[in-house]
Point group: C2
Chain length 451, copies 2
C-alpha cells in the first residue's frame, strides 16, 4: 500500500504488474440465471479449486512465488517511482513473464512522479546533541543549503496546533500524534506540512505512521495544499517524537537542524507491465489481477508491493500449469471488466477477500469463496479505504482485495525493514491459491458478475 | 544485560548503581530458627508488603521510577563505558540520590573498558550496490584506512565454517546463524571474529543476535582469542544476512567493502554509584540491589539497564517514604552479604524472581515471594545464565534476579531502539514494588538467609 490517493495522482502514480485472465462468461446479464443455479454452477468448481490449491500449496508450484519474489527483490532492490531501479524492475519482470510462457506480455506507457530524496539529516542541538533517524516525505521540497536551524514546537494534534498557532511562527513543528489507524493517522503525514506552513512554521517533523518501531522512520507521500508555502517535511521515529514531547512537557527548549536536498522532477515515463492468459471464447471480458511493481526507496519493497505483484503473476502461472485457458484477447473496454483484483496489504496468511459490488454480485462471490474451504479462507468482507483499484470500482466494476493477517504490516510499511525477511513462502502459497481460484472461477462462470 | 562475561572482565566492566539496604537480621545461623517459625515470621510481613505495593502501584510513588528514568535518559542519552556521557550519568545520579535523601551516597572507583566506535560503514558492491546498516562490535579493531574490500563467504554455523575453511582465506566471513536463544546464539558475536581469523578470513559480519528486526543492527562485546589475528568485526541486520545467504545459495559472487575506525584505549577511571538506607541494628550485613548505569553507545539505554538501575533506586525511595529504616553501616565484607539482587533483563511486567542459593534459603525465599500475592508475582525460579552478580554467587552469597515478561527484550537489546518508548510506567511500578518487598523483608528477618 503506497498510500497515495487515487484522486490526487490518478493511476499514473502506480506502476502495476497487471495480469489479465480472459473470460468465458456471458456479459453481466441482469436477470440472467436464477441464483440457485449459479450457486450450483459455482459448487461444481470444487474439484478444480482443489487442484489449484494442491498445486500451489503442496505441489510442484510450492514456494514458487516466494522464490521468484526473493530473486526479484534481491536482484533489483527497491524501485521508487522515476528511478533507474524501477526501469530495471520492469525489464526484469517483462522477461520473466515471457520466459514463463504467459501470453501477450507487454508494457503500457504511463507517466509517474519523479521525486529524489537526496541527502538528509536532522540533528537535535538542544537540550542535548542527538542525531535523529529521518526519512523525508515524497514531494517534499529541500531546505536551503546548510539546513534550517530552528526551535521546535511539539503538538499532539491539528487541534493543538490551531490553539497554539502563535507559537508556531518560525518554528519546526513536530507532530507527536498517537497512532490510531493508518487511515486516520496518515493525515498527519499527508497534510502536516501545509497545516503547519499556514501558521508560519518553517518545517515539519512528523512521527512515523506506525504502531511499533525499533527506531525505524517511515516515508510516504505528502500533499502540499494549493496556495500554501511549501516547507520541508520528513518523518522522524516514534521514539524521537515521544522524547521531544517529554522534553517540551518539562519546559525544555528544543533546537533542531534539518537538512534535506530533495528534488522533484517532471513526471517520468514508465510502464504498466501486463501479461495474459488468452483463450478462445468471449474475448471481450477480463478479470484483472494486480499489484504494484514500484516501491519506496527504502528496504526491498518485498511486502509493499512485491508480494502482491508476485502472487498476481503466480495465479496465472498456476492456471497455465493446469492448462486452464479461457476467454480471448481484445483491447479492454471498462464495461468489459468483469472483476478487478488487487493485493496491496501484504501477502501474509490470507483471511479472506474484501469485495465491493452489487448485492447480487456479493451473493455470487460468497459462493465462490466457499471453494476456499480447503485452506480455510472463505470469508467475504466489505472493503476498507484508500485502495488503488478505487478508480475502476467508482466506474461500477466489481472490485476485490486480498485480506491477510496484517497486524504487523504497518511495522514495516515504507521502512528499511520492508524486505524478504517479513515474507513467508507458506503464506505466499496460500495467497496465490486463493488469488488463482477466485480469478479463475469468476472468469469461467457462464455469466459475468452482475453489476 | 550487557552480555559481558564476568570471568573475563570482572566487576570492573560494569558501572553499577548499587543500593544497599542494611539488615536487621542475625548472621546466617545454620541450625537457627525452625522453618515453620520462619515461615510464620515472613507471613507477618503481609501488611508491610501491602503498604509497599500500595505506595508503588497506586499511591503517590506511582510512575516515579518511570519519570525518573525518562528524565535521566532524555537528559544524558546513552552512556557507553569510558565515555563523557557515562561521567555525566554518574554525576547526575549522585546528585539525584542525595537530593532524594538517601544516606551515604558515594562513588567507588572502578576501572572500565574504553572502546570508541568511530565512523563505520559496509557497502555491498556485488551483485548489486547496497548500503548495509551495521554496528561494529565492542573491542573490534579498525580496518585499514579506505576499508577492506573482499569477497564474502556466507556460513550458517561454526561447523560449516570448519568444513569450508579453505574457502574462507582472504574473505569476509558472513555468519547467518539462526537465532535459537541469546545464550546460545551470542557465541557467534563473541567468538565469530577469532574463529574466522583462524582460517584466514580478513573480517567478519555477523547476523545480529535477535529473533526480530526492522533492519535494526545490534552491537555488543566480542572477544578476541589469544594468539589469533585480530580482524575487524561488526553486526549486520538479520535482513542483510539472510539476503546474502540467498545470493550465495544462487551462486552469486558477493563483494563487500567494510570500513571501521574503531579504537581501544587503556581502561578508564570510573565509579560505582552507591546509596544506602542506614539504620541502627546489626550493621554488618547488607542486601544489595543493583542495575548497571552504563549502556551501549546506541539508543538511550533505557531498557539495558536504565530500568534496572532505576527500580533499585526506587526500592530504597519507597522504603524511605514508609520510614523503613534498618541495619547500620560498616564497610562491607562479602561474608556479610545477605542477598545480592540484580535487575538486568528489562523492567517489563514482572513474573517472579530467579534465585540461586541453598535449599534452605530457597525455602525461605519461596515464603517471601508469597507476599507478592497482591500483584500476582509469587513465582520463585532457578537462575538462567550469564548474569552480572555471578561473582558474588560463586562466593556463596545468595543471588536473586528480577524475571519479567521479556519476550521482546532482545528485539531492542543493544540497538537504537533501546529507548523510553519500550518502557511502561505501570510495569515499572510493579517491578519496583516487587524489588522493595523482597529486599526489605530479607533484610528485616531475624536471621540472614541460610547459605
Amino acid at each position: 500500500m503506497q498510500g497515495r490517493q487515487i484522486k490526487q495522482c490518478g493511476l499514473s502514480s502506480l506502476t502495476l504488474l497487471a495480469t489479465f485472465l480472459h473470460c468465458n462468461c456471458l456479459p453481466h446479464s441482469t436477470g440472467g440465471k436464477p441464483f440457485p443455479e449459479t450457486a450450483k454452477e459455482i459448487a461444481s468448481y470444487a474439484k478444480v479449486a482443489k487442484s489449484i490449491i494442491d498445486l500451489a500449496v503442496y505441489g510442484k508450484a510450492q514456494n514458487r512465488s516466494y522464490e521468484r519474489l526473493a530473486d526479484f527483490t534481491d536482484t533489483i532492490g527497491n524501485r521508487v517511482s522515476g528511478s533507474k531501479n524501477l526501469d530495471l524492475a520492469i525489464k526484469y519482470m517483462f522477461s520473466a513473464l515471457r520466459k514463463d510462457g504467459l501470453e501477450n506480455v507487454h508494457l503500457e506507457p504511463v507517466k509517474i512522479p519523479h521525486w529524489v530524496r537526496g541527502v538528509e539529516s536532522a540533528v537535535m542541538l538542544q537540550p542535548r546533541n542527538h542525531t535523529m533517524a529521518i526519512l523525508g516525505l515524497g514531494s517534499s521540497v529541500a531546505t536551503p543549503q546548510g539546513g534550517i536551524e530552528a526551535e521546535v514546537l511539539v503538538v499532539e494534534s491539528f487541534e493543538e496546533l490551531k490553539k497554539r498557532q502563535k507559537e508556531a511562527i518560525g518554528k519546526i513543528v513536530v507532530y507527536n500524534q498517537p497512532f490510531v489507524s493508518y487511515g486516520e493517522t496518515v493525515q498527519y503525514r499527508e497534510f502536516g506540512a501545509s497545516k503547519a506552513a499556514e501558521v508560519g512554521a518553517v518545517a515539519t517533523l512528523i512521527r512515523s505512521i506506525t504502531p511499533f518501531s525499533i527506531n525505524s522512520p517511515h516515508t510516504g507521500w505528502q500533499d502540499y495544499q494549493e496556495g500554501v508555502q511549501k516547507i520541508p517535511t520528513a518523518c522522524i521515529t516514534v521514539e524521537d517524537a515521544m522524547m521531544m514531547a517529554r522534553m517540551a512537557k518539562r519546559g525544555q527548549r528544543i533546537v533542531v537542524r534539518l537538512t534535506m536536498n530533495a528534488q522533484t522532477f517532471p513526471d517520468a515515463d514508465s510502464f504498466n507491465t501486463v501479461a495474459e492468459i488468452i483463450g478462445s471464447e468471449h474475448p471481450e471480458q477480463v478479470v484483472l489481477l494486480s499489484g504494484h511493481l514500484d516501491s519506496w526507496d527504502v528496504g526491498q519493497g518485498a511486502m509493499d508491493d512485491g508480494g502482491g505483484a508476485l502472487i498476481s503473476w503466480e495465479a496465472l502461472s498456476l492456471l497455465k500449469d493446469l492448462g486452464k485457458n479461457l476467454g480471448g484477447l481484445v483491447s479492454v473496454n471498462i464495461s468489459n471488466f468483469n472483476l478487478v483484483m488487487e493485493s496491496d496489504m501484504g501477502t501474509f496468511t490470507p483471511l479472506g477477500l474484501q469485495f465491493t459490488g452489487s448485492v447480487q454480485a456479493r451473493a455470487v462471490m460468497a459462493e465462490v469463496m466457499k471453494l476456499l474451504k480447503p485452506i480455510n479462507t472463505t470469508t467475504l468482507e466489505e472493503h476498507g479505504e484508500g485502495i488503488d483499484i478505487e478508480m475502476w470500482m467508482d466506474a461500477g466494476v466489481p472490485g476485490a482485495s486480498l485480506h491477510v493477517a496484517d497486524s504487523r504490516y504497518f511495522w514495516f510499511h515504507h521502512t528499511n525493514g520492508d524486505t524478504m525477511s517479513v515474507q513467508s513462502p507458506i503464506e505466499m502459497n496460500l495467497c496465490s491459491a486463493l488469488w488463482a481460484v477466485v480469478a479463475y472461477v469468476v472468469a469461467d462462470l457462464e455469466e459475468m458478475l452482475p453489476r
